[in-house]
């Protein structure tokens, strides 16, 4: 296992190198002049000399390779560069965004799992019952509605009609409720469908008949066997969702004015703030690779047949 983790961490270096190079290259060939955008954003008149001086200051006149390696050198020392817009360190801006995105992502995931795991299992165990039909309808609606529409509906019911929750309440528990639900409801729709399918697949395996003819209690069959064997798939589904959530939800963060990384990167794209975009992509790549690694390790714990050493 140690060898496997070491190998995967080494792979991470190559993945990050490739991701950073591609992002940098894409930003390089993208149209628009960051120096011009910066000066415009700061309300300064665009004088060709000032613009040239700004380009020089920002290092935009240097060749691509020099710029890339100079940036990469900074990355290795933990310096992702400074924002073109406000000249603040990218790492600080991302960290600030993460302090909003991480609680929102984790709470949305916790709510989605708390709802969809029991409903997915119940729906599979009582397949074709009234309960199953109701859960499936809920899952279908959750899947079909885009999260911005759910957000608007939630605002309408809880903020406008009943005034029980605020629309904007930054960094507070109450403010977290509506964005959490807006993200969790569509996720529930997807999770329920996937968990139900996975549990049904396990319930149809011959070992379940083996357990039943031995008179093993239903509770033990579901929790000790079906859930145990489905957990690999559940972990994969959850892992992928964590990755997506950590990237921040641009729409939800914008609607609720939640200053997470989604909103940060959206603003950076509009302003052609390349260092922020590159830093964001790099951090997301690290998060994805680490989640994948954690998923693989958990797989090995659940299913010892998987031998990563080979």
């Amino acid at each position: 296992m140690g060898k496997f983790i070491g190998k995967r961490l080494l792979q991470l270096v190559f993945v990050l190198f490739a991701v950073s190079f591609m992002t940098f290259a894409l930003m390089y060939i993208a149209p628009g002049d960051p120096a011009e955008r910066k000066l415009t954003a700061q309300g300064e008149a665009i004088d060709p000399e000032v613009l040239e001086a700004e380009r020089e200051k920002m290092g935009l006149n240097q060749p691509f390779v020099v710029r890339y390696f100079s940036w990469l050198g900074g990355v290795c020392t933990g310096n992702l560069g400074n924002s073109y817009v406000d000249n603040r360190p990218v790492i600080t801006k991302l960290a600030e965004g993460m302090t909003y995105t991480v609680p929102l992502a984790l709470s949305a995931l916790a709510v989605a799992l708390a709802i969809s795991l029991p409903l997915g299992i119940l729906s599979a165990v009582y397949r074709n019952s009234v309960l199953d039909v109701i859960v499936q309808i809920f899952s279908f609606i959750g899947n079909a509605l885009p999260n911005f529409l759910i957000a608007v509906l939630l605002i309408f019911f809880f903020c406008i009609q009943n005034s029980v929750l605020p629309v904007i309440a930054n960094n507070s528990f109450i403010g977290l409720i509506l964005p959490t639900l807006s993200l969790a409801i569509p996720m529930c729709g997807r999770f329920i469908k996937q968990f139900r399918g996975e549990v049904i697949e396990q319930l149809e395996k011959t070992y379940i008949t083996g357990l039943r003819v031995r008179g093993v209690k239903e509770k033990k069959i579901i929790f000790g066997n079906v859930l145990h064997n489905s957990s690999a798939a559940i972990i994969t589904i959850t892992g992928l969702a964590i990755g997506t959530l950590m990237g921040g939800s641009v729409v939800i963060e914008s609607i609720f004015r939640w200053p997470g990384v989604g909103k940060l990167v959206m603003d950076a794209i509009t302003a052609r703030d390349y260092p922020v975009i590159q830093g964001f992509v790099l951090v997301m790549a690290v998060i994805y690779v680490l989640i994948n690694l954690a998923t693989d390790i958990l797989y090995r714990v659940i299913d010892p047949r998987i031998d990563y050493e080979k």
């Binding site: 008949t209 083996g210 039943r212 003819v213 031995r214 008179g215 000790g224 145990h228 010892p304």
Partner: protein
Amino acid sequence: MADEILRVEDLSVSYGKGNMISGVNFTVTKGEIVCFLGESGCGKSTLLKAIMNIPELETVITKGKIIFEGKDITSYSDKEIRSMAGKNIGMVLQHLGGAFNPLRTFEAQFKEALYSHDMEYDFEKVKETFAQLNLPDAERIIKSRPYEMSGGMIQRIAIAMTMILGPELLLCDEPTSALDVTTQKMAMEQLMNIRELLNTTILLVTHNPGIPSMMADKVGVMYAGHLVEYGKTHQVLHSPAHPYTKALIGAIPTFDFKLPKGLEGQPPLNGADMEKCAFSERCPICKEGHCICGNNPYTLKEVCKDHCATCFKRD
């Protein structure tokens, strides 16, 4: 009868649409091994599933009774049936590899089954049972998972599990079909051991007519959902009465470099619900125009003591 353990009375079973078996009658005495023979789809496995009768096996008893240890278990609730499964009536499945959860250790699975019946897990007992079944190194096996074992070992572990749960009646659904010839012999010996050690009654379904001759006290021959012949092994196999049994035994391959006689045609799909004899289309006697099918083609009639058949021609 004092030592009668199972009596099946006029049993008809369906999977929801049309009967799969119909009007089956037989009795089994405690400690007997009874083998059911017949072609694929004749209802042998359905019969065992109906006796087990847990809802997940999907059999629906449409008519008749199953009297187990003097009690009609067809009237039992699902909960009562589940509590009997494993402890009173055990079942060894056809695909033994699938009998255990592939991701959990045998220890966890033994404990789970025993605790479900409020029984204690005692490793010494497991070790002793493993030794009786020629399973060495119980400490290692019990900590292993099914994928680490061979098919033959899994089968013996499944039998060990059954022995520890100690059911009075053991149902074996083609337990040897997935095994090679030498392992088949070992499996048969183990089943005979169970009977010897625990006086367990065994009902076994097989395609292989060689198996009952080796171990069964009684043989039942099934055709298109009907029990057409039932009696002592020696009598059924050596003096078959029903034309189907005769044809079935005639179809056994031998070492004389000749193709077995075989039986032309296929059994009817709705045989269990047919009023006329389901075998009449293939019956050599009917084909010769000397049909002996009576008004009740599915009533077992005595051929001689402990041997009956639904249709036979006295020589």
